[in-house]
Point group: C2
Chain length 526, copies 2
Amino acid sequence: MIRWNNLDTLDAFKALESDAKVNLAEVLAGEAGAERVKNYSVPMGGGLTYNFGAKKVNDEILADMQKLADEAQLTEKFAELYNGGIVNTGEKRHVLHQLVRGQLGNDVIADGVNKREFYTGVQNRINEFANKVHAGEITNEAGEKFTQVVQIGIGGSDLGPRALYIALENWAKKNNSLKMEARFISNVDPDDASAVLARTDVAHALFVLVSKSGTTLETLTNESFVKDALVKAGLNPSRHMVAVTSDSSPLAKSADYLDAFFMDDYIGGRYSSSSAVGGAVLSLAFGPEVFAEILAGAAEQDQLCKNTDIRKNSSMLDALIGVYERNILGYTSTAVLPYSQALSRFPAHLQQLDMESNGKAVNRFGEKIDYKTGPLIWGEPGTNGQHSFFQLLHQGTDIIPLQFVGFRESQLGNDVVIKGSTSQQKLCANVAAQIVAFACGKTDENPNKVFHGGRPSSIITGQTLTPKSLGALLAHFENKVMFQGFLWNINSFDQEGVQLGKVLATNVLAHNTEGALKVYSDLLEI
Amino acid sequence: MIRWNNLDTLDAFKALESDAKVNLAEVLAGEAGAERVKNYSVPMGGGLTYNFGAKKVNDEILADMQKLADEAQLTEKFAELYNGGIVNTGEKRHVLHQLVRGQLGNDVIADGVNKREFYTGVQNRINEFANKVHAGEITNEAGEKFTQVVQIGIGGSDLGPRALYIALENWAKKNNSLKMEARFISNVDPDDASAVLARTDVAHALFVLVSKSGTTLETLTNESFVKDALVKAGLNPSRHMVAVTSDSSPLAKSADYLDAFFMDDYIGGRYSSSSAVGGAVLSLAFGPEVFAEILAGAAEQDQLCKNTDIRKNSSMLDALIGVYERNILGYTSTAVLPYSQALSRFPAHLQQLDMESNGKAVNRFGEKIDYKTGPLIWGEPGTNGQHSFFQLLHQGTDIIPLQFVGFRESQLGNDVVIKGSTSQQKLCANVAAQIVAFACGKTDENPNKVFHGGRPSSIITGQTLTPKSLGALLAHFENKVMFQGFLWNINSFDQEGVQLGKVLATNVLAHNTEGALKVYSDLLEI
C-alpha cells in the first residue's frame, strides 16, 4: 500500500534534520579523506560512476537518507509508475517514458494496446524510414538524397533532442555515424527560423515537425515559415516534412507530411527525448543503431534505479542529497558543470527537466506545502565557467551545490601536448582541482584571497561520452527528478504553470486587453 | 570627500527596510496600474527604455532609493572612477572600460600616457588593419582574402565578444555588413577547438589570439592547436594570426603574429568587450563603423549614468532595485530573459559580468560583510523559456526577479502571418502577457492552477536590436553592476576567486598531490 505523504511529516526527515552537519574540509583531510572519496562512489549505467565524496554527508546521514528513501517508499512509487499506475494524478495519466527504453515491470495496457509494443512499433517505423532516407530510397522530388534534418519544436521537443544531438555530433563524425547534419528551429522569434533556414540547404533538408497536440503556436508558426521557404525555392513542402504527433492530432493523417510517427499523453515533453520526439531526429542524424544505444544506456540506468539500496542507486541518492541540500541546508540552486564541450546544452535540458517538473508549490493532492521544492538549475561547461561565474561560486555569499561531469578521454581524440600535458589532461586536472578547492577552501593572510570552502559537489565520471553513456546520464537525471518529486510529494509530470501566459498572449494579440497589460502591449506596439 | 561605507550602515538603507512592501497585483490594477506602468519608465542610450512598472517599488520606496543613492554617493563614486581614481583597490588599478568609448571627465594619465588617446589609438590601428583585410591588402600567403575570423580566448575574451557577435550576425547580413564570419574557440576541452576548426576554412581564416598576460593556459593551448592545424594544412601560422595582449606580454613583439593590438590592466576581462578584446574580432567581422556604433551606444548610456536622479539613470535605478530585491526582499537570483534569439548568449555574458564582479564576501577593505552581495544571474531567450523553466518561475516556492528584453521589430524582417498576427507580434504579445501574469497571478478553483503572482520583473524595450542599442544595453548592465558594487562596498573589479583552482590544477598535472585530490585525479586517470 503506497502512502503519499508530505516530506515534513516523515520521521526519517526529522532525523535527518537533527543529524550533525558535515565539515567538508575536515572529512576530506588526509588518508581518511582519500578513503572517503574512494568509497563514496556508485556505479551507474553506461559505465559511468557517481562520486559524492565532496557532498555534505557521512555514514550517519546516509543511514538516515536510506531510512527516508524507505519511509517515502521511493522504490515502491517507482514500481507503481513503471507498472502503469496513474502517477500523473493532475492529468490522470500514466507516466511511461522509461517504457520506451525497456520493460521494467508488468505489461502496461492503455488505450487498448500494450504500450511497450506501441513504443517499439513507432521506433521500428522510424528506423525503417531513417534507413530508407539514408539509403536514398526516400528522396526529394529530384530523386536526390536528403543530407540535413531540421527539427521544428519547442520546449521538450527542442531542448532534449538538441542537447543529445550536440553531445554526439563529434562522436558521430569520428565514428562515421553522422548520416545527416541536424538543425533546430524553436523560438517564435522570426529571426530564429530565418537564420537557421539561411544556413540550411532546403532542397536537401528533411523537416521534422514535433507537436503532440498539433496546436503549439510557436511550432505551427515556424512550420509555415519553413513551408514558405520551401515554396519559394520551388519545392513541394509535403515531400520535405514528417510529423511527430499524437494520433488524434490534426497532423496525424495529413497529406502534408511524408509520414507521421506517433507519441501519446503518457510521456511529457521534457521526458520525451527517448521517445519518437528524440527518436526521429536522432535516428535520421546518426542512424537507428546509435539511437538504440542511447536507449540501451538509459535502460541500464533505469534498471539500477529499481534498487532500494541508495548506495547502489545513483539517481535515488542524488535525489536525497538534493533534498537534503534544499530543505535542510537551505541552498536554493544547483549548478550543472560538464567539463565537456559536447555537453554544452545539456544544462539547458536539465533546466527544463528539473524546473518544469518540480517547480511546484502544492502537493499531488493540490494542498499547499510548507517546504521548498525544486531548485533553480543552471550551468555552463568547464573550463569556461572557471573564467566566469566561478568567482561567485568560490567567494560569493550564497553556497551553490555543484554537479560536475567529466570524461577521461575526449570524443575526437585530437590533442596537443603543452607543458607536458594534453588538453584533455588539463581539462580533467581542472575539474579534480575545483572539487577540492570548493570543498576545502584555503586560508590566506589577505582576506580577499581567503576561500572558505564548504561548497559541496558531486561528479559523474566516465571513459568517454558515447551514445550509451549519454543515455545513462539522461536517465540518471530523469530518475533523480522523479525521486525528488516523490520525496516532495508533488506531481512532477504536469505543468500548469505554463498555461496562463498563453491565454494572456492570445488576449494581447486580439487587442482584448486593458489597464497595465494594454500599456505593456502598447510599449511593444502590438 | 568620498565615504566608502558598508550598505548596512547607511540610514537610507534602514529607511528602505522599514518601508511598507508593495503588492504588485494591487498596484497594477485598473487605470492607476496603467498610469503607473506609463510613468515607471526611464529613457536609456541607443533609443532603449527601461520600464520598472512591475517591480515591487512605489513612490515612497523610490524616494528612499534616491536617498540611498545620494548617501552612498553613487554619482561621486562613478566620477571618481572615470576621473581616474584607483577604484580597483585590491589590485591598485584604475578602472577605465568606459574611457574606451568616451571621455566622461578629466583626462586620465597613467603609465605616462593619456589613456583615452591610448585606447582610441589602438582602435584606430585595428580599424586600419581591418580595412586592409577587407580590401584584400592584407591576405594569406597565396594572396587570397581572409573570409573568416576566429577568436581564441576564454572568459571575458570570449563571452562578451561572442554574445555581441551573435547579437549582430543577422543584423549585419541584412545590412550588408557581414565582412567575415566569426567563430570562437575557448574551452581547453580539445573537442571544442577540433570542432570549430573542422567547420573553418583555415586557409582563409584569420585568428585573433586574446590573452592580456600572454600566459592563460587554455588560450595558449588552443593557440598550439590552431597552429598545428595551420601547419598540417601547409600554411604559415604567423601569416594567419594577430594578438590582442598587453604591451608587456611575451606575445607583444613576437614575429609569430601579423600584428599585435594592446590592452592594459585597467580594463578587466569581463569589461573588455568595448576594448580591443571585442574591437578586433568585431571590427573584422562587421567593419570598424559597426563597432564604432556599438561604442557610441555604450557612450550614450554612460553619459546618462552620470545623472544623480535615479529616474533618469536606468543603470543606477536597476542597481538599487536589485539591491532591494537581494538584501530586503531576500531573493537570491535574477533571470535575464531576452525575447530575441539574437541575444541568446547575452545572459551568459551578463552571468560573468555580474557574478565575477559582485560574487564577493569581503568589502573593499577586506573586511567580512554581513549582508548578501551579487545574486546568481542566468537566463535563456523567450519564448523558449516559457516552454521550459517558466513553470518554476510561476509556481515554484522561490520568487526569482526577472529582467525581460524585447524589441518591436525583428532584425531580418522576414515574417509570416498566422492566425492574424506575425511571429514578431506573437513574440511581443508573449512578453507583455508574461510580465502581467508574473505580477498579478490568477485565482482558480483548482489549487494546481492557481498563480500567486507577486513575481517582479522589468523590461528593456527598443525598436530593433542594432549595434547602437546593443552597445547601450551592454553599458546599462556594466554600469548597473558597478553601482551595485558601490552599494555593497565591494571591489567589483578584481577576481581572486578564480586563482585557487589554477594552482591546484597545476599540482594535479605535476602529480604533486595526495589524499582526496589524488583520488579525484586517479578517478579521471590524470
